[in-house]
Subunit: 379 residues, 2 copies
């Protein structure tokens, strides 16, 4: 009996991440790699320290390339199916940190084509509207405008097409069936999309590093199967766990259920209401019981979110942990700590988003990397 | 027992075109339609008179639209897998006649993408080289440079992509299996291609008319299944028989066997040698027998070619027919008539090809229709 499921199209159950590493055949980010990262980056991002990013493929080779001055590049993306929530931003935040530390190029693919063919009744204008909104949220993260190229698939297609075709003819239907879960009813737009997803890993001859949640790993197995044949490197990846949904630590925060997520445009009051009302609590049924028996941090979503990202200070987190487990800190108080952290985070995000309006053109068209990319057709 | 096979990927055997009309569910171009065409066009092209173009879908509706001033447009194409032979030029010649007579827009798709994904070892540069050569041969046919848009798929992809995606999500794997003969090993580039093939029929809201050999008909069945759902017309088509290969009247002239075809760059001597050596003859084994028994025009490839295209004059053709059947005209003499006709045709083609060099830019980029097409993204 499987207790959990992790595929690119379903994440459910209580995930055993050790088992997942075995199942997927990836490697744990061990002390050795963490030490090496620390040596290069001086400090470690909280998402690494707390082992939210926990697994990888060929990250050791990426670091080796970097030390040998061969350099590498970063690739992430976003499917513009709607507004963005916190879970969507986490890989972006981590990617920005990597870009800062390693001073490397970054490609951000906005998969408007895939979202459009995935939902048969989606309207093109809606996908474009979300794409433009999402791009602002992404630009707000603070990437380097001269080393970052944000592009919509539909806009960059002409430049990428010949190389996509070279990739496409290496991938047959039966492979996509196995990796993407396609079947006889899958439409031919969806079927072609893996070529676009893969082509970005070939934007440079250097090694590509993809920060992503681990459920995305299978997508890159196709790339790793064909890359060397085409004269490129197998892509490397660094995998995160899933940000738990508000309702409990199983599965992942999902766009399809709005109330399980904190959205980037939720206002202070909405954030407070949602967390107070929905965030699954490790506390006891009554205050008396809680003070007597204490709370359980390992299932408490508010605590888990603090631990993953929002309380960077180890000592403070430990204090919260101990106070909650001992019953001294009540559920409402714990939740309020998170509410304040998230609202501060979202306030800052909104300010950055406003400022980013002026930067979008550089990310997409006029920055140094963007200009370079528009100037070439990839073959 | 089938005596012949006609699919988009195989044409073989002695084709019974009446049976084919039944099998495919198309309509014969009957006297009624021919009369109507004659009324509008004043004369009929030899390819219509001799019933080489013999079948259609919705040609009656096209003519009705035309008479009601609703207009229509033409669409043809070419897969740049190599040099072009006479068989490739026939639909182009007929399409030019239609454009002249109806004064309508024409779109010519150069499917460099499809040819590249079809042959897994094809080089992009080679496909592009052939594409450019083929475009010259096509431009030489003499289309209207302000009403004709010749485009390479790889170049126009950005403008066509959103509408292609709209089409793609209506077509699933099982449909392409049935229509294109795709299977588990088919690559995802090939699988996406039907969307490009269909999108051209939606370049205008008017009805589209496709002149093509009848083996191409199944491709348009997908379009006809989805067009009205997307707010467009089912495409119409006008179907030709196959130009017989030199070696005999079965099957069709094929690029894969160079010696079965007359190539547009064959010189006078090559044409003569090929026809004298390879053209299947309906004559008798010896001159004596021939004079006594006569030749059989219905299996004689030289006669068939004269009848399809190269001898427009009915009286002259009838004379040739009677003289050959009676044994008065010898095989070598019959072949020489064809050699002279073809060499004259190719000489003229070479001259037009030379002149067309200056026109290519108008067909592809700067002519009235081309400019219009580059100025819009189709959604």
């Amino acid at each position: 009996m499987e207790e959990f499921t992790v595929t690119p199209w379903e994440v459910s159950g209580q995930i055993n991440y050790d088992k997942l590493i075995q199942q997927f055949g990836t490697k744990r980010i061990d002390d050795g790699i963490r030490e090496k990262l620390k040596r290069i980056c001086v400090d470690l991002h909280v998402l690494l320290k707390r082992q939210f990013f926990f697994s990888h493929r060929d990250l050791d080779l990426v670091l080796q390339d970097y030390e040998q001055k061969k350099d590498f590049f970063l690739y992430t993306g976003r499917g513009p199916s709607g507004e963005m929530h916190l879970g969507h931003l986490i890989p972006m935040i981590f990617t920005k940190w990597l870009q800062d530390k390693f001073n490397v190029n970054l490609y951000i693919e906005i998969t408007d084509d895939e979202k459009f063919v995935f939902k048969r009744d989606a309207k093109w204008e809606d996908v474009q509207k979300y794409a433009n909104q999402n791009i602002l949220d992404i630009a707000a993260v603070g990437f380097d405008p001269d080393k970052t190229f944000i592009f919509k698939d539909s806009e960059y297609i002409k430049n990428a097409y010949p190389l996509m075709l070279k990739i496409a003819r290496k991938i047959n239907y039966s492979t996509t069936k196995a990796v993407f879960g396609f079947n006889e009813q899958s439409n031919i737009g969806l079927m072609f999309y893996p070529a676009y997803q893969a082509v970005v890993t070939f934007f440079e001859k250097k090694r590509c590093l993809i920060p992503c949640a681990i459920d995305q790993d299978p997508y890159w197995r196709i790339q790793r199967d064909i890359a060397e044949d085409l004269g490129y490197n197998k892509t490397a990846a660094i995998h995160s766990k899933f940000l738990p949904p508000l309702q409990g630590i199983q599965g992942k925060m999902s766009s399809s259920q709005a109330e399980t997520a904190i959205w980037l445009n939720d206002d202070d009051k909405t954030v407070k209401n949602k967390i107070m009302k929905y965030a699954f609590s490790g506390g006891q049924a009554t205050i008396e019981d809680h003070k007597r028996l204490g709370g359980r941090t390992e299932v408490d979503v508010a605590y888990q979110w603090l631990s993953i990202l929002f309380e960077e200070n180890n000592k403070k987190l430990m204090q919260i942990h101990d106070d909650y487990e001992s019953g001294k800190l009540l559920t409402g108080e714990l939740k309020q700590i998170l509410v304040d952290k998230i609202n501060a985070f979202l306030k800052e995000h909104r300010e950055q988003r406003k400022k980013a309006e002026k930067l979008v053109d550089r990310f997409m068209y006029s920055g140094k990397l963007a200009k370079e990319m528009w100037g070439k057709v990839l073959v």
